[in-house]
Amino acid sequence: MDLQTLLVSKLNYWIFVILMIVGIWAIMSKNNLIKKIMGLAIFQAAVILFYVSLASKEHGTDIPIYPHDLIHPEHHGEVDHHVEEDSAKAHGAYEKHETAHHEEEHVKHSDDHDAHAEKDAHHDTHGDHQEAAHGVAHHDAHAPIADSINADDFNNPLPHVLMLTAIVVGVATLGVGLSLIQRVYRIYGSIEENEILEAIQNASDDGLTLQPEEEAAAQQE
């Protein structure tokens, strides 16, 4: 395909490649430790750009949240008391189905896992559970809306979930990295890679003679 469609149709992926190159180049060749951490942040942002751009669909698709009218079709103006009746009825029907399950009355917020009571929950295999989950779908308070949804209307929710995790993990790594930078600054007096390596070099000719200050400090106490 000619360059125009190649470039236009996949602009996100081109920018993602450029950002990755910038990020990995910064991590490797920047001298300042904080610049290296920034390079890492940009590198992770590039991967997030890749994931989110593979989740979006054609123009006009909606954000991955069900619009209100789709969920409660019968809410156009009528009083919603009959909705409560359906749920009560469905709830009742559901109750009979569930009595077969052996229930334990005590509600112990199990904090210490080792201490929990020995209780064999004769739980049938998870396959059967899956059937129960599908079974449940027919009992809920409103008509199942699965068939009335056209999957192409909404963006793919899965990459969004993965990227929520990736962003938070990125910030956690950033926090730990910055605390390490502060300790490095306090020990060597600089956050420039070359100055730190010099400080390490003349602190000890090799690993052998270095007497770890902390260990010595700890022994003195």
Partner: protein, 81 residues
């Protein structure tokens, strides 16, 4: 998901990324990284990823910039490259 709006944002993102890595003064480099993150948040929102945009704004741009400035406060502000 207007393509042209997308393209402008992406170009701006690449520019702010490169600029934030090349500024010598660390505080302004951090602020540029903040701009980079907020542009990313704008891009996610525009691409339909609303939750990711919210997280990027709050966690990615907001808190990381605060952490970076806090660290620069405790170390040096000037950087050699």
């Amino acid at each position: 998901m207007i393509w042209s709006y997308d393209a402008i944002l992406l170009i701006l993102i690449v520019i702010t990324a490169i600029v934030s890595l090349s500024i010598k003064d660390l505080i302004s480099a951090t602020i540029t990284l903040g701009v980079f993150s907020f542009l990313l948040c704008l891009l996610w929102a525009e691409m339909g990823a609303v939750d990711v945009a919210f997280t990027e704004a709050a966690v990615g741009a907001g808190v990381s910039t605060v952490f970076l400035v806090a660290t620069i406060y405790n170390t040096t502000r000037k950087s050699s490259d």
